[in-house]
Assembly symmetry: C2
Homo-oligomer: 206 residues x 2
C-alpha cells in the first residue's frame, strides 16, 4: 500500500543547532531527503546546481513567486532564496520524507502554504548555551550578536505555533526524538485512510 | 524539571491483540505502569487485591460513580468494572506514564473525562487475521463469534476519534510504534510549558 511522504520542517532560533541536527538525521535515516532551495545568488566554489541550491535568474524566481511556486521565500542582501513547492511535492508523491531546515519566518510561510507538514521547533538546552553558540561564531560583530539574541527571544515566543519542541542538548537525542516524531506522525489516522478503508471493507464482508 | 506523566489509552476491536501489545510495552519500558481497575466481582484464585483489580463492594462502586470517581466504567454480566480517576491521577502526578488497555466504549468515556490522554487504536493487519484471532478462541459459540465480528466492523469505523492507529502485525513493531508515539507526545509544546518559560526567561536577560 502506498503512502505519500511527510514534510518535516525543522526551525528554531539561531544557536539551536538546526544544521547539525538535520545532518545527523539525514545520515542516520536514509529514507529522509533534504529539500533543495532555489536562489538567485551566484554559485560559490564547489557548489553544484541541484545539490546545494538550484541556481536561477531573478526573472525566473519572480515568475515563480507570481505563480505561487514557493512554499516560502525570503530576500537576503538583495538575493532571493525559496523552497520550490513542486520539488517538495514530487518527492512526497514518490513516498519520500522531505526535511526542510528553515528560519522561523520561513516556517510560518510553510505553515500557511502546506499545513499538512510536521513542524518541529528546535531549542538549545539553556540561555547560556544559546549565548555560547551565538557568540562562538567569531565572524560576527557585537551588534549582530545583540541582534541575534533579541531575535532569539522573540522567536522562542512562537513555539506554540509548532507541533513539537525538541531540545538540542545531545545531538543524537534530538535526532532520535525527531525520528520518533516522524514515526508517530505516520500513525495518524488521517495519513492512513487507505489502510483503514481496506481493513473496514475486509471486516464488513467476513 | 518535573513533567507529569502521560495517560496512554490502547483500544481497538477484539482480535487486535491489545493485551499482547500492552504486555510487550510494559516489559520493555519499565517507566510505564498499567492502570489497575476497580471491580465488584469476587477475586478468582490467585488474584490479589490492588494487583489484578481493586475488589470493592457494589455500594462503594456506586458511590464512586455518583462522585465522578471513574474515568470510565461498564457493567458486564451484572458486575461493575471501572478505571479510578484518582489512582490514575496520582501516578501521573508522580511523573509515571500510565497505560490503559480498554474496549472502545471505555475509550470513548475516557476521551470525555480525560481529553489530555493519548488515544491509540490498535488493529489487526487484515480482516483474515482478525477472523483467525476471533475464531481462534475455541471457548466461544458461533453466535458470539458473529457478534464479535459485526462489533469489530462498527468499532473500526470509530478510528478517526483516535490520535493514532497502530497495526499489530508484528508485536515488537506495534510496541515500538507506540513507544515512538509516547516519545513524540512528550515533545508537544503544551506539555513543556515550564521548559519553554524557563528558556524564554533566560534568553530575555542575556
Amino acid at each position: 500500500m502506498f503512502r505519500p511522504g511527510l514534510l518535516i520542517v525543522i526551525s528554531g532560533p539561531s544557536g539551536a543547532g538546526k544544521g547539525t541536527v538535520c545532518r545527523a538525521l539525514l545520515e542516520h535515516y536514509p529514507e529522509l531527503v533534504l529539500s533543495v532551495s532555489k536562489t538567485t545568488r551566484l554559485p560559490r566554489a564547489g557548489e553544484q546546481d541541484g545539490v546545494s541550491y538550484f541556481f536561477v535568474s531573478k526573472a525566473d524566481f519572480e515568475a515563480g513567486i507570481s505563480a505561487g511556486d514557493f512554499l516560502e521565500y525570503a530576500i537576503v542582501y538583495g538575493e532571493f532564496y525559496g523552497t520550490p513547492r513542486q520539488g517538495v511535492q514530487q518527492l512526497l508523491e514518490a513516498g519520500r520524507d522531505v526535511l526542510l531546515e528553515i528560519d522561523t519566518q520561513g516556517a510560518r510561510q510553510v505553515r500557511e502554504n502546506f499545513p499538512a507538514g510536521v513542524f518541529v521547533f528546535l531549542v538549545p538546552p539553556s540561555g547560556a548555551e544559546l549565548y555560547a553558540r551565538i557568540t562562538g561564531r567569531a565572524t560576527e560583530s557585537e551588534e549582530k550578536i545583540r541582534q541575534r539574541l533579541s531575535e532569539a527571544a522573540a522567536e522562542i515566543a512562537q513555539v506554540y505555533m509548532y507541533d513539537y519542541i525538541v531540545v538540542n542538548d545531545v545531538v543524537e537525542k534530538a535526532r532520535d526524538e525527531i525520528a520518533a516524531v516522524i514515526r508517530a506522525e505516520k500513525c495518524r489516522p488521517t495519513r492512513n485512510i487507505e489502510l483503514i478503508e481496506g481493513l473496514s471493507g475486509e471486516v464488513m464482508f467476513l
